[in-house]
């Protein structure tokens, strides 16, 4: 009984450490701009196994939707405003994204370094 109790206390401790670690480390920030229905830059290199904060600035007057099937993300960013999308942690590889409203031109790629 006592051993079981000690065990659960230990695991709770581990859990708390993991959680606080996740809270303490601020995710690195990356910025992406939408201009003339293009993503600038169109390719973004991010570290592996890391959660990142992606700031998408829409400099066009029209709304756009940042979307990616591979990343499971979709967010409408109104004209002349910005939005934040958290991405990852991801395994190495390439993850395409696009602007759903202007997909012919608004195409981009996130590359996760090995």
């Amino acid at each position: 009984m006592r051993r079981c109790f000690a065990k659960s206390i230990t695991s709770l401790g581990v859990l708390l450490t993991v959680c606080s670690g996740a809270l303490a480390g601020k995710p690195p920030e990356f910025t992406l701009e939408i201009r003339d229905h293009l993503f600038l830059p169109s390719e973004l290199v991010i570290p592996r196994d890391t959660k990142i904060k992606l700031i998408v600035i829409n400099s066009d007057p029209t709304p756009e939707e940042f979307e990616s099937y591979e990343l499971n993300r979709e967010k409408v960013i109104m004209g002349g405003s910005k939005g934040v999308v958290f991405i990852g942690p991801l395994e190495p590889g390439t993850y395409p994204f696009f602007g759903e409203f202007y997909p012919k031109t608004a195409q981009g790629l996130i590359r996760v370094e090995p």
Binding site: K51, T62, P63, F86, F101
Partner: protein, 263 residues
Amino acid sequence: MLHSVIIVLREVLEASMLISLLLAASAHVGITRAWIWLALAFGLTGAWLLSRFGSSISSLFDGMGQETVNVMLLGLVIVSLLSNCGLLLKHILNRHLLKRPWWLLWCSLATSCALSREGSEIFIYVIGFMQAGPEGHPIMTGAAIGLGVGTSIGAVLYYLLRLTPLRIFYVVAPILITLVAAGQAVEAARELIQSGWLESGKRLWDSSWIIAEDSVLGQLLYAGFGYEATPSATQLIFFSFTIAVPLTLALYWRWQAGVNHAV
């Protein structure tokens, strides 16, 4: 133009499948379908307000206003659908009289909230192109076609469900309502992950080689039940919990009905 058909169709499908299911269920249990008019009015007004004040809403809560509103709307849809499913299951398994006011409330609430969310995206898209001048005209046509195709598919689904014999409908309906709710839960999980409030957990599998998300079947499954080709662990947890609620209720009520029968 073809692209605008698909964008609008995707959003319309999600709402029209949910509405068809609830309308058919109301008809089968003998409750008026008049709630749809109120729900349409509320839903479309909500959608217009969300698109009209889209910029101001987005900038709320450290730029997470859009996610906050979406999660609240998705949450309301999930609660309403599960409550509806509960009422229906109790009616089927325990021959319990269906509580009419609650049924009407949950149907209206689910429809209004789903329409507000899906509709606002269509409004934002269409209004954006309306401001673009003449080059936006093909987009308008495309959007109108998308709306037409989406509602037509909803109508076909409705008549299919209406023609289903009651015995079969009573098996199919709770399953479909639960899956739609679970699909909304997957979307709510995505909103919470992308806004940084929840961790995504591991990417569990990649089924895009079987059903790609941008394929016709993938889009249909996404609209209906929130299909993701590469779901994260958190999304699967949300999906499973949503399914567990009506499943537990069904098992309990079935057991209870058995006990009463034995007595």
